[in-house]
Amino acid sequence: MDRIRIFQVSIYFLAFCILARLFYWQFISSVSSSSDSFSQEIKLPAARGEIYTSDDFPLVANQEAFILYAKPNEISQDPRKVAKTVAPFLISEKYSTSEAKLTEDEQKQKDTETENKENEIAQKISNKKLFWVQLARKVSLLTKKKIDEFNIKGLGFDQDSKRFYPEASMSAHLLGFVGSNEDGDDTGYFGLEGYYNNQLKGKNGRIGQVKDPFGFPILVGKYRPLEPKKGSSLYLSIDRAAQFIVEEKLRQAVDKYGAKEGTVIVADPSSGNIIAMASYPTYNPSIFGEFSEDYFKNPSVADTYEPGSTFKLVTMAAALDLSLVTPNTVCDVCQGPRKIGGYEISTWNNKYYPNSTMTEVIQHSDNIGMTFVSEKLGVDRFYDYIDKFGFGKTTGLDLQEEASGFIRQKDDWKPIDLATASFGQGLAVTPIQMVQAVQAIANNGVAVTPKIVQKIKSQGTQEIVKPGGKHRVISPKTAAQLTEMMVNAVDQGEAKAFVPKGYRIAGKTGTAQIPVAGHYDPNKTIASFIGFAPANKPKFVMLVRFREPSSSVFGSETAAPTFFSIAKDLFGYWGISPEGK
C-alpha cells in the first residue's frame, strides 16, 4: 500500500515539474517558436548580375569564393604556427600568382605583408573567448583547396562569391569594381558597376526555418523562405574585338610616345553607341585595393582638358552653319601674329599663310585664321553653338563619374577669351564631349546622346534601354562641308604618311599646352586626334588623346599615327574595303 502511495506521489510530482517547466518557457523566459535557438533567420545574398559585351561574352561574371573563419576554442595547434601556415595564402593576389616575377622591392613588400597578416591572424585566433572569427573574405577556390590540405582543426569556410574578369583588366575604367559598403555588402563603385549598382545587385533573400537539434528543417514548423533575386545583367554596345584592338594599340602607343596617360574612345556615329573605350595605364578591378584611387576614375568621361585645335571644328561648324563663312572664304588677317586685348596670338609653328581659305585654315590648324572666324561669330552666337554641341554639361552617358567640363559664363567673355576659345584654349571639355561633337558632324549634323548599355536582362524579363536623345546641331550641308575640310586636313596634313591607303578619313589634330601655375608649359601638352571613317558613310568616330607625350609634344606625331593604326585594324576587322578617292 505504501509503495503505491509513493508511486502516486512521484507521478504527481513529475507532472507538476513538467507543468512548471512549461509555464516557465511559455510565460517567464518568453521563448517563442520564431526566436529560439532552433529557429534561424539567415540572409541569402543575391548573386550580382553579369556584364556582357555585344557578342554576349561576359566581361564580368561571378566566381565561387569563400569566407575563411576560425573557431579559436577548437584550434588545438599553436596559434602562431597556424597563422604562419595560412598567412602566405591570404595576402594580395598580385604576389600569389605563380607567374609573378617579383623585383627585390616587391619581394620585401610581400614579406612585410605576409608578416603583418601572420600577426593579425595569430592575434585573432589566440583569443579563446571568441567562438567565431572571420580571417579572410573572397578567398578563391584554389586557395581554399590549398588551406584544406593542411587539415587544420578549428578553421572552416563559408560560401561567398566574388567578381571574375575573364578578360582581366580589359575595360576596367568602363566597368568599375565591386567593393564592400559599411554593412559589408557588395557595392559597385565607378563605371557601370557604380551607375547600375541598383540593377546589378539584385535582392537578398532570407530563410526563416525551424530546425531540429540535428540541424534538419522541421517540416511542420514555420517555413518562410524568401528566395534571393539575382541582379539584372547588362548587355553593352562594346565590341569585344574592337575593345581588344584599341587597348592593345593604346598600350603600345603610350609606351612608344612616353605619354603619362592615353585615352581612346570609339563610337558609332549614327546611334551614339560606344564601341570601345579605353585608358592606359589602367588597373585590375579584381585587386583594386592594390591601386591608387587616382586610377579609378574613367578619364574618358571624368577628365577635363583644354581641347586645343580639335575644338576648331566646333568654331568652324558654327560659322559655316550661320553662313558667316564658306570653305572658300579668304582670311584677310592671316599674314602674321595678331594682338588681341593686349595678348599676342601666333600660330603653333610660327608659320603664316596669308589669304588662306577656311579649308586651308583647318588644314594648317591656323590659330590666326580661327580668330578671324570667331570675330565674325561674336560671343553670343559662338556661345550658343558651344552649348548646342553639348559642352559645359554632361552628355548623359550611363557611367557614374561623368564630369561636365568648364565653359566660362557668357557675360565674362572678353575679346581675348573669344579668340583663344576659337582654337580650344581657356575652356575645359571631357573626351566624351569631344566625341559627341564630332559624332554630330559625322551624323549629318545630328547629335545623339552616347550610350553603353543596350539591354538589361533579369530572370524572365528583358528591358531594352531607350536610345539616347537626338537633336540637330548643324545643317546637313554644314556637316558635309566640314567633313570635306576634315578629309583635306588629313590628306594634306602632317600625318598624311600614316593614313591607310585608299580610305577617306576625316580628322583633326590637336596639341594643347597644359596650363601650369598661370602660364602654359610648352613641354607639357595634351596631344589628340579626332575623326571618323569612312568619311562618306562613317562607321566609327574615334578620339585618341595622350597626356604629356615625351617623344613629341604634337598630336600629328603621336595621336594621329595611333588613330590611323587603330583605324587600319578596325577596317580589317569590320571588312571595310578601300573606296578610292
Binding site: 561576359p58 561574371a61 565561387e64 560560401q159 582581366a168 534538419f216 511542420v220 569585344r240 578601300p578
Partner: protein, 105 residues
C-alpha cells in the same frame, strides 16, 4: 408469490448486470488501448516520415547549391578559356602571327 418473483427477478438482473459490466469494462479498456496504441504508432510513423523528409529536403537543397556552385565555376572556366587575352596567348604559342598586309579583292 408475487414477492418471491420480484426477488428472483432482481437477483437475476443483478447477476446479468454484474456479468455484462465486467465484459464491457474489459472491452472498453481493450478498445481504448487499441486506439491509443494505433495512434501512437501512427504518430511514430508520421514523425519518422517528417524527420526523414526534413533530411531529404536538406540534402536536395545542398545538391542545388552544389550544382549552382559547379555551374558558376564552369561558366567562369569557359569564359576564361575563350577570352581574347587567352586566345592571343595560345595562338602566339602555336606560332600564329598577325597578317602584315590585308588584300581586299
Amino acid at each position: 408469490m408475487i414477492s418471491d418473483y420480484k426477488i428472483k427477478n432482481r437477483q437475476s438482473k443483478q447477476k446479468i448486470f454484474a456479468l455484462f459490466s465486467g465484459e464491457i469494462k474489459l472491452k472498453i479498456i481493450f478498445l481504448a488501448g487499441l486506439v491509443i496504441t494505433s495512434l501512437f504508432f501512427t504518430q511514430l510513423v508520421f514523425a519518422n516520415s517528417l524527420a526523414t523528409g526534413g533530411q531529404k529536403l536538406s540534402e536536395v537543397q545542398e545538391e542545388i547549391k552544389r550544382l549552382d556552385r559547379e555551374n558558376m565555376t564552369l561558366r567562369a572556366d569557359i569564359a576564361s578559356q575563350s577570352s581574347l587575352t587567352n586566345l592571343v596567348k595560345k595562338s602566339e604559342q602555336l606560332g600564329f602571327k598577325k597578317p602584315l598586309k590585308i588584300t581586299i579583292l
